[in-house]
C-alpha cells in the first residue's frame, strides 16, 4: 500500500504546477482558446520541449514510458490551470491509438511527429444517434478492390478542425449496434470525400462533424485489426479516463479554492459571507467532493496495471460516476456562492464550470457509467 510518488513523478508534477502557477494566467488562457485553433501552437511546442507530449508513450517509441500515475499528475495540473490544449485529442486518443494499432515506419513516423508537437490528431468515434453507446456505428466501410470505401457521418470530433490526421471508426461488418465489425481507419484531413463542419463546445474547444462520401482508403490505413476496432478504442479510452478525471479534479479543486477565497473576501450584512455556517458547510461538501474524487482516482490508477479486468472497469465506472455527480455539484455551488459574479463571463468560474461539464459528458456521463457499473456489480 503506497500512495507516494517517485522522484521523477514529483518532478513532473512540479514542472506542470510551475507552468500553471507562473506562466499561464487566466487571461492568457482566454486569449489562447479564442484563436482559430483553440490553443496556442507555441505553447504546444513548449509542451513538446518539456517532454509532456511524450509522457504516455513507450520508451521504445520515443516516449517517456509514463504510467497512469504520471498522466494523473500532469492532467490534474492542466485542470487547475484550465489549460487550452488538445492533449486529450492528439496525445491520449490519437497518439495512443496509433501506438497500439499501427506498426513499423508508419507508427514511428506518426509518433515522432506527435511527440515533437508537429502533428495534430483527432479520433472520430461518435455518431449523432449513438449518444454514449460506443458500439452504435452506422458509418460503413465497404470492401473495394483497393481497400475500403467509407460513407457516413461522425460527430463531435475533438480537435477536428485542427487535426492533420484523423482516425475514424466505421463498420466493416455486423449490425449497427454490434460490438464486432467495427474497424478504425487513418485518414488525412485532405482526403477527397471528407468534409468537415467546424464548431465549438462551450469551453471554447473546437470540434468538427465529419461527412464521409465514398472516401477511398487502402488496407494499410487500417488501425488495429479489422472488425475488432472497438476493443482497441475502448482500451485507449479506458487509459485516458483517469487522465480526464484528473483534469476534472484539477478544475474542481480550483473552483473550491477560489470559492473559499471569494467568500472570505466578500462582505455582506457587514461580515465576510464565508462566516455564514450554511455556506461553510457547503464549501466543506465541495472540499469533501474533491477528496472523494482523489480517492477514486488513486483507486483507478492503482488498478490500471490490470486493464480490462472487472476490478479495473468497476474502478473506472465509479470514478466517472462520482466525478460527474460531484463535479456538477461543485460547479453549481461555485457559481451560486459567487453570487451574481458567478454568472459573468469575466470571472474564471464559469469557464472552469463549462470545461468541467464538457469533460463529464465525454465518454459517457454519470448516469451512463452508473448503469454500466450496475451490470458488473448486480448481475441479473
Amino acid at each position: 500500500m503506497n500512495f507516494s510518488f517517485t522522484e521523477e513523478q514529483q518532478m513532473l508534477q512540479d514542472s506542470a504546477a510551475r507552468f500553471v502557477g507562473q506562466d499561464y494566467s487566466f487571461d492568457r488562457r482566454q486569449q489562447d482558446v479564442g484563436r482559430t485553433t483553440g490553443f496556442d501552437p507555441e505553447l504546444w511546442q513548449q509542451f513538446a520541449d518539456l517532454g509532456w507530449l511524450a509522457v504516455p508513450f513507450e520508451e521504445e517509441h520515443g516516449g517517456f514510458g509514463g504510467n497512469a500515475t504520471d498522466l494523473m499528475l500532469l492532467m490534474e495540473q492542466m485542470g487547475k490551470g484550465l489549460v487550452a490544449a488538445p492533449y486529450l485529442a492528439t496525445v491520449l486518443l490519437f497518439g495512443k491509438l496509433v501506438e497500439a494499432g499501427t506498426v513499423g515506419d508508419l507508427r514511428d513516423d506518426l509518433l515522432t511527429r506527435v511527440i515533437a508537437g508537429q502533428l495534430q490528431g483527432g479520433v472520430a468515434f461518435m455518431e449523432r444517434q449513438a449518444r454514449y453507446a460506443l458500439a452504435d456505428t452506422s458509418t460503413r466501410a465497404s470492401r473495394t478492390a483497393a481497400g475500403f470505401e467509407l460513407s457516413g457521418e461522425k460527430t463531435l470530433v475533438l480537435n477536428g478542425p485542427v487535426a492533420d490526421k484523423l482516425i475514424v471508426s466505421a463498420r466493416t461488418g455486423g449490425a449497427q449496434q454490434d460490438e464486432a465489425g467495427i474497424s478504425l481507419f487513418l485518414l488525412d484531413r485532405t482526403t477527397p470525400g471528407l468534409e468537415l463542419t467546424d464548431f465549438r463546445l462551450m469551453d471554447g474547444q473546437p470540434v468538427a462533424n465529419l461527412r464521409l462520401t465514398r472516401v477511398q482508403v487502402t488496407a494499410d490505413q487500417l488501425v488495429g485489426p479489422e472488425n475488432d476496432g472497438l476493443a482497441l478504442l475502448q482500451r485507449v479510452i479506458d487509459e485516458a479516463l483517469p487522465g480526464v478525471c484528473a483534469e476534472a479534479l484539477g478544475l474542481m479543486t480550483h473552483l473550491t479554492n477560489t470559492t473559499i477565497e471569494y467568500t472570505r473576501a466578500r462582505k455582506q450584512f457587514g461580515v465576510a459571507i464565508g462566516s455564514f455556517q450554511v455556506l461553510q458547510h457547503r464549501m466543506v461538501d465541495m472540499f469533501t467532493a474533491c477528496e472523494e474524487i482523489r480517492s477514486l482516482l488513486y483507486r483507478a490508477v492503482c488498478s490500471a496495471d490490470k486493464p480490462g479486468t472487472a476490478e479495473h472497469r468497476r474502478n473506472l465506472h465509479a470514478l466517472k460516476v462520482l466525478t460527474g455527480r460531484r463535479g456538477k455539484r461543485v460547479g453549481n455551488e461555485a457559481i451560486q456562492l459567487h453570487g451574481g459574479m458567478g454568472i459573468t463571463d469575466e470571472l474564471d468560474v464559469g469557464h472552469y464550470v463549462k470545461h468541467l461539464m464538457v469533460l463529464n459528458s465525454l465518454f459517457g456521463d454519470a448516469d451512463y457509467h452508473q448503469q454500466q457499473l450496475a451490470t458488473l456489480s448486480l448481475p441479473m
Partner: protein
C-alpha cells in the same frame, strides 16, 4: 375543496384560446428568440395584449386591470404556455406599476401608468449594487437634495435589459443616519438624463442581458420620488413578495417538462429512445412530482391572495422550489443532449445543421438559469427569511 372549472371559467378558457389563435403569438416569440429583435418582439406582443385589455390582469380595474379571478389567471397562464406565447416583461407591469398605483400620487399615476400598460416605456430595476448583492439594505447609491431635485451618484448592477430601458426605478439613500433599512427612497429616473451610463455585463451563456448602470451627478426631480422620503424600503419590500411569486414559473416548467418528454422519445442511445432509459425515467418523474407539488403550492398562495391574504413569506417557498425545479429541468435537458449539450451553434451554422436541434438552447438555458437561485434575493436569503418570519427561529 375543488378545482372543477365553472361554466364561466370554461367560457373564459375559450376566449383565451380564441385570442391566442387570432393573435399569433409565435410571431412575436420568434422575434424575441433573436437578441437583435428581442425588444421589438416584446413590445409588439405587449401592445396586442394591451389592446385586448389583458396586459395587466392583476392590476385594479380602475388602472386598467382585467379583474380576473385566481382561476382565470391560472387558466390564462396554462393557455399562454400551451400557445407558446411570450410572458410580459415584468419590470413595468409586475414591479414598478403596482408600486406606482399603490404608493404614487395622482400625477405620477397619470404620467407613468399609461406608458407601462401600452408598452411605450421600457422599465428596468435599480436595486442591487456592486458589493451589496442580496443585502439590499446596504445600498450606497446616494441622492442628495439640491433645490427641487435630487443629485444621484452611485452604481446599480445586474440591471436586466437596461440597454433597452427608457426608465429605471431605483432605491437610493437619502439619509445616512439610522438603521440601514431607513433613509432609503424610491426614485423613478429617466434613462436619458445626462450622467447615466450603461455598461454591459456578458453572461456565461454568452448573452448580453445584464448591465451595470452608473449615475454621475444625475439630476432627478423631487416629483419623481414615490411616496415619502426614507420610506422606499417599505415600498420595495411589499413588491418583493409579488416578484418571488412570479419567479416560480410553474406553467413554463410544465411546458419544459412536456418538451423534455418529447425530446426523450427521439433522442436515442444504442438504438433505444432515451425515454426507455431508467435513469432518465427516474430523474424525469422526480422533477414531475416536485412540479406537481409546486403547482398546487402556487395555487394555494394565489387562492390566499384572492382572499386578500398577503402572500408573505410563503412566496419565498415558491421562489426556492420554483427555481430549484427550473434548474433541475435545465440540467436534465442538457444531459439528455449528451456531448451536444456543450455545443455552441455559432453564426456560420445553425444548431440543426450541426445535427442537434436542442443542445445549444439547452446550454444557454442551463447557464443563464444559474442566475435564478441568485437573483431576486438568493435562495439562501429566502431560507433565512422563512426561518425568521415563519418558523420564528
Amino acid at each position: 375543496m375543488d378545482t372543477t372549472l365553472s361554466t364561466t371559467d370554461l367560457e373564459f378558457r375559450d376566449d383565451v384560446r380564441a385570442f391566442f389563435a387570432k393573435a399569433a403569438p409565435e410571431k412575436s416569440q420568434q422575434l424575441i428568440n433573436n437578441p437583435d429583435t428581442y425588444k421589438q418582439g416584446v413590445i409588439q406582443w405587449q401592445k396586442q395584449l394591451f389592446e385586448q385589455g389583458w396586459v395587466a390582469p392583476f392590476w385594479p380595474r380602475e388602472y386598467g386591470g382585467a379583474g380576473w379571478t385566481v382561476t382565470q389567471s391560472y387558466i390564462y397562464e396554462c393557455e399562454r404556455v400551451t400557445a407558446n406565447a411570450p410572458d410580459v416583461v415584468p419590470f413595468g407591469l409586475k414591479m414598478v406599476g403596482p408600486v406606482i398605483y399603490t404608493y404614487g400620487n395622482d400625477e405620477q399615476k397619470a404620467r407613468f401608468l399609461p406608458g407601462i400598460l401600452n408598452g411605450n416605456d421600457w422599465w428596468c430595476q435599480g436595486y442591487s449594487e456592486p458589493g451589496a448583492g442580496s443585502d439590499l439594505a446596504a445600498l450606497k447609491t446616494r441622492a442628495d437634495r439640491d433645490g427641487d431635485d435630487y443629485i444621484v451618484n452611485g452604481s446599480k448592477i445586474w440591471t436586466t435589459y437596461a440597454q433597452y430601458a427608457d426608465w429605471i426605478f431605483c432605491l437610493v439613500r437619502t439619509d445616512h443616519s439610522g438603521r440601514p433599512q431607513q433613509g432609503i427612497s424610491f426614485l423613478l429616473i429617466d434613462m436619458k438624463t445626462p450622467g447615466i451610463t450603461v455598461s454591459p455585463i456578458r453572461s456565461i451563456n454568452g448573452v448580453h442581458s445584464l448591465n451595470e448602470v452608473h449615475f454621475d451627478n444625475v439630476r432627478v426631480p423631487l416629483a419623481n420620488r414615490i411616496g415619502e422620503e426614507g420610506q422606499g424600503w417599505t415600498y420595495a419590500k411589499s413588491l418583493l413578495a409579488h416578484e418571488r411569486t412570479v419567479i416560480a414559473r410553474v406553467a413554463d416548467s410544465k411546458s419544459r417538462l412536456d418538451r423534455l418528454r418529447e425530446l426523450a422519445t427521439r433522442e436515442l442511445q444504442g438504438g433505444r429512445p432515451m425515454i426507455e432509459d431508467e435513469a432518465f425515467r427516474a430523474r424525469f418523474t422526480a422533477i414531475e412530482v416536485d412540479l406537481m407539488a409546486l403547482e398546487y403550492m402556487e395555487l394555494r398562495v394565489l387562492a390566499a391572495m384572492a382572499n386578500n391574504q398577503s402572500p408573505g413569506a410563503e412566496s419565498s417557498l415558491l421562489k426556492i422550489r420554483g427555481t430549484e425545479i427550473q434548474q433541475a429541468l435545465h440540467e436534465l435537458t442538457i444531459e439528455l443532449a449528451g456531448v451536444y449539450g456543450g455545443m455552441i451553434a455559432g453564426d456560420s451554422a445553425t444548431a440543426a445543421d450541426l445535427g442537434h436541434d436542442f443542445g445549444d438552447q439547452a446550454r444557454k438555458d442551463f447557464m443563464y438559469g444559474r442566475a435564478s437561485t441568485i437573483f431576486g434575493g438568493s435562495n439562501e436569503i429566502q431560507k433565512n427569511i422563512i426561518a425568521k418570519r415563519v418558523l420564528g427561529l
